[in-house]
C-alpha cells in the first residue's frame, strides 16, 4: 500500500499537469499585472502631457513644432465631440478645395467625380450647398442636360432658400432656353427675382430675363 501511494505520488501525470497549470496561470496573472501597471503609467504620462500642453501650444503656434504639438494634443487630450466635428470639417474643407480646383481649371469630369464623392462623404458640411451647385455646373458644362436637371432638382429640394437654389434655377432657365422653351425660361427668371432676396441672384435673373429671345 505504501509503495503504491509513493508510486502514485511520484508518477501521477495528473498532479504534474495540475502543477504546470498552476504555474502557468501564476505567470499569466503576473504578466497581466505588469501590463496593467504599464498601461496605467502610460495613461498617467498622457494626462501629464495633456495638462501641460495648453500652456505650451500658444507659444509654438507659428513655429515648426506647432504642428507636432497639436498632433500630440490630439492624441493625449480627451477626444471631445467638438474636436471630432472640427476635424471632420477640416477634412471636408480639403476635399472641397480639391474639387473646386478641378472646376476652376475646367476639368469638369474630374470635378464631377470629386464633388459627388464630397457630397457622399460630407453631405452635412457647411460647403454642401456650394458643392451641389458646382456639381450642377460641372454636369452642365459637360453637356449632360438630363443629369443637370436632376442635380438642380436636388439643390432645390435640399436648399430651397439658399442662393445656390436661385443660381441653379437660373441654370434651369438657360437649359430651357437652349431647348427652345423661352416662355418657360422667362417664367423661371421672374420667379427667381420674386423669390430670392439675394441681390446677386436677383440681378443675374433680371439680366437673364432681359436676354431671353422669344
Amino acid at each position: 500500500m505504501f509503495v503504491y501511494q509513493w508510486a502514485k505520488m511520484t508518477y501521477d501525470e495528473k498532479d504534474v499537469l495540475t502543477a504546470r497549470i498552476h504555474s502557468l496561470s501564476t505567470q499569466l496573472k503576473q504578466a497581466e499585472l505588469e501590463t496593467a501597471l504599464v498601461k496605467d503609467q502610460f495613461f498617467g504620462f498622457r494626462q501629464e502631457v495633456a495638462m501641460n500642453l495648453p500652456t505650451l501650444l500658444p507659444s509654438l503656434k507659428d513655429s515648426a513644432q506647432g504642428y507636432a504639438a497639436r498632433s500630440i494634443a490630439s492624441v493625449t487630450q480627451k477626444p471631445g465631440l467638438k474636436n471630432q466635428e472640427a476635424s471632420q470639417e477640416v477634412l471636408a474643407e480639403l476635399s472641397f478645395s480639391k474639387a473646386k480646383n478641378a472646376f476652376q481649371t475646367k476639368n469638369f469630369e474630374k470635378s464631377e467625380h470629386l464633388l459627388k464623392e464630397f457630397i457622399r462623404r460630407y453631405g452635412f458640411s457647411t460647403h454642401a450647398p456650394d458643392a451641389h451647385f458646382l456639381l450642377v455646373e460641372s454636369l452642365y458644362q459637360q453637356g449632360k442636360a438630363e443629369e443637370t436637371v436632376e442635380a438642380i432638382r436636388k439643390v432645390i429640394d435640399l436648399f430651397p432658400g439658399h442662393e445656390v437654389a436661385g443660381f441653379s434655377m437660373i441654370r434651369l432657365g438657360k437649359i430651357m432656353e437652349d431647348q427652345g422653351q423661352a416662355g418657360n425660361a422667362a417664367d423661371i427668371y421672374k420667379k427667381v427675382i420674386r423669390s430670392f432676396p439675394q441681390r446677386e441672384v436677383a440681378s443675374l435673373a433680371a439680366a437673364s430675363l432681359a436676354g431671353v429671345n422669344f
Partner: protein
C-alpha cells in the same frame, strides 16, 4: 463528547485556514514584492484573480472585484484597475490617474476605474474629490457619486455632476462590492445618508430640469415656426419647378 467538540473546532479552524490560504494565493504581486510588503510600499501592487476578495491592510479594509490592481501604503491606496471599495475608520486617500479622493475619519467609499473615467461613490464620511490637474477639492455628500474624466483641451480634467446613487447601485455595492461584509448598523447609516442625498440632489436636478424644459420648449416653438415658414416657401418653389420641368 469533549473529543467530538474538539474535533468540530479543529475542523472549523482547518476550513478557515484553507479559505485564507486560497484567498492569499489569489493575489498576484508585482516582481520583488512579498505578501508582507503589501501595505508598506506603494510600489508593491497586487492583482486579484477572478473572484472578488477582501483584505485587511493596515487600518484599511479593502474590497476588490475580479482583475483589480492596487497598492496600499499607510493610508494611501493607489487604484490602477477595476472596481473596489474601502472601509477606513482612520481616514484614507485613494489615488488614480483620473484624480484622487480623500476622507479623514470613519470613511466608507466605493470606486470603479473605467477606460474613460473614474466613478466614485461616497457612502460614509466627509469625502473630498480632486480630479487630475485641478487645484480645488470638491466635497461630496454622503450617498452621492461623481465621475472624473480625462484631461481635456484646456489642460483640466472634467468633473461630472454629482448625482445620487440609484437603489440598485446601492444594492450592488452592498452585496457584490462589499461582499455583505458591512455591519447592519453601518448599512442602515449609509442607507439613511443615501436617502438624504437623493432628496437633496433631486431638488437641485428639479430646478435644472425645469430650466432645461423651458428653454427646450421655447426653441422647439421657434423651430416649428421656422419649419412652417420654410415649408410654405419650399412648396411654392417645388411646384413651380415641377411645372416648368414637366415632371408631374
Amino acid at each position: 463528547m469533549k473529543t467530538r467538540r474538539l474535533l468540530k473546532i479543529f475542523l472549523l479552524f482547518l476550513a478557515f485556514s484553507v479559505e485564507i490560504h486560497v484567498k492569499a494565493l489569489d493575489l498576484a504581486l508585482s516582481p520583488g514584492c512579498t505578501k508582507d510588503s503589501l501595505g508598506k510600499s506603494k510600489e508593491c501592487f497586487a492583482m486579484n484573480g477572478l473572484s472578488p476578495g477582501q483584505q485587511k491592510i493596515n487600518d484599511l479594509n479593502v474590497f476588490y472585484q475580479s482583475r483589480s490592481v492596487f497598492s496600499v501604503s499607510g493610508s494611501l491606496i493607489k487604484w490602477v484597475q477595476g472596481e473596489g471599495a474601502v472601509q477606513a475608520p482612520k481616514g484614507v486617500e485613494i489615488e488614480t490617474t483620473f484624480g484622487s479622493a480623500l476622507c479623514e475619519k470613519d470613511c466608507v467609499g466605493a470606486f470603479e476605474k473605467k477606460e474613460d473615467r473614474l466613478e466614485f461613490h461616497a457612502l460614509k464620511g466627509k469625502w473630498q474629490v480632486l480630479s487630475f490637474a485641478q487645484k480645488n477639492r470638491q466635497p461630496l455628500l454622503e450617498g452621492s457619486s461623481l465621475a472624473l474624466f480625462q484631461v481635456g483641451e484646456k489642460g483640466l480634467s472634467d468633473w461630472g455632476i454629482a448625482r445620487s446613487l440609484s437603489s440598485s447601485e446601492l444594492k450592488h455595492l452592498f452585496s457584490k462590492v462589499f461582499l455583505n461584509a458591512l455591519s447592519s448598523r453601518e448599512r442602515a447609516e449609509i442607507t439613511t445618508s443615501w436617502k438624504k442625498a437623493v432628496s437633496a440632489l433631486s431638488g437641485l436636478y428639479q430646478s435644472q430640469a425645469q430650466r432645461a424644459v423651458a428653454s427646450r420648449k421655447a426653441s422647439e416653438e421657434r423651430e416649428k415656426a421656422r419649419q412652417l415658414r420654410e415649408e410654405r416657401e419650399d412648396r411654392a418653389l417645388r411646384e413651380m419647378f415641377r411645372r416648368k420641368n414637366l415632371l408631374d
